[in-house]
Symmetry: C2
Subunit: 145 residues, 2 copies
Amino acid sequence: MMFSKACEYGIRAAVYVTLQSLEGRRVSVGEIGEEIDAPVAFTAKILQQLTRNNIIHSVKGLHGGFEIERVDMDNVKLNMIVKAIDGDKIYTGCGLGLKECNAQKPCPLHDKFLDIRTDLRNMLESTSLFELANGLEVGLTYLKR
Amino acid sequence: MMFSKACEYGIRAAVYVTLQSLEGRRVSVGEIGEEIDAPVAFTAKILQQLTRNNIIHSVKGLHGGFEIERVDMDNVKLNMIVKAIDGDKIYTGCGLGLKECNAQKPCPLHDKFLDIRTDLRNMLESTSLFELANGLEVGLTYLKR
DNA sequence: ATAAATTAGGATAAAATTGTCCTTTATTGG
DNA sequence: CCAATAAAGGACAATTTTATCCTAATTTAT
Ligand code: FES
Ligand code: FES
């Protein structure tokens, strides 16, 4: 609705990896797909993007899998994931579909749209994976239903 | 980025029709496509949806075209157009892609997402076509670039 | 009546996104 | 070294969204 499916999966996956890394567990693509209720092979592609962008870390081979370091749980904010997967159209795009958002030659919705986008941006830039994993840990929130 | 392409075209088209109806001019699909820089045949489909939803009015035949009545310029709010074209997933969807947004079993982003969505909703429900056409009329805003 | 203009609507086509499958590469344990 | 395990990556398939084209229906002017 706001993010692509790939991005939604990406965030859910990253949060799940965070949750498990907090317990010291490395997780496989299969487990991730299962636990966030996403197609495994597709999720694998997205995890590749996240590792290439140094958002999570992958280890090949026996006992391998995905993990995230404790510092990164705080340092990685949602906007980094969104940017890695959906690019920055969420920041540069125009709400009414003009080539780019441009205050010099704004679309009729520009001002109102900018307000909301700024809030969205602030939200994404300030929420960390750790924060999101916390609610999960205490059973307040869910990654699938 | 937030609305489908169809919805973006739909809003731009409706605003253009509003602008021209203010001058008493009925406009053709061809002119609309031209003036909002959108594919004509595709725009035609979208205009059909808008007329079926009584958002704008169409007249067939020679000197026909699209128009919108003065009262509707005030009564039609953006949320009606978005709903007609994109449905209500913008209201009911979950930011992280769970089946539906559900406060009983919320995703980790639910609270923060709801704040932003509420603002978006309020914005859409309170801005009318007339308001948007006004900025255009005085040359402050643009429907194409 | 007829011709011209204009929307309505159906059938496709093209492009983008989402999803699957299979092979390769790296790592570990025996 | 060898077998087993797991991510990386390439090729392809399905679905959805976007876009085009053609015909039908409606209205107006002559
Ligand atoms: S120009 Fe359209 S949102 Fe800024
Ligand atoms: S449950 Fe995800 S946004 Fe409400």
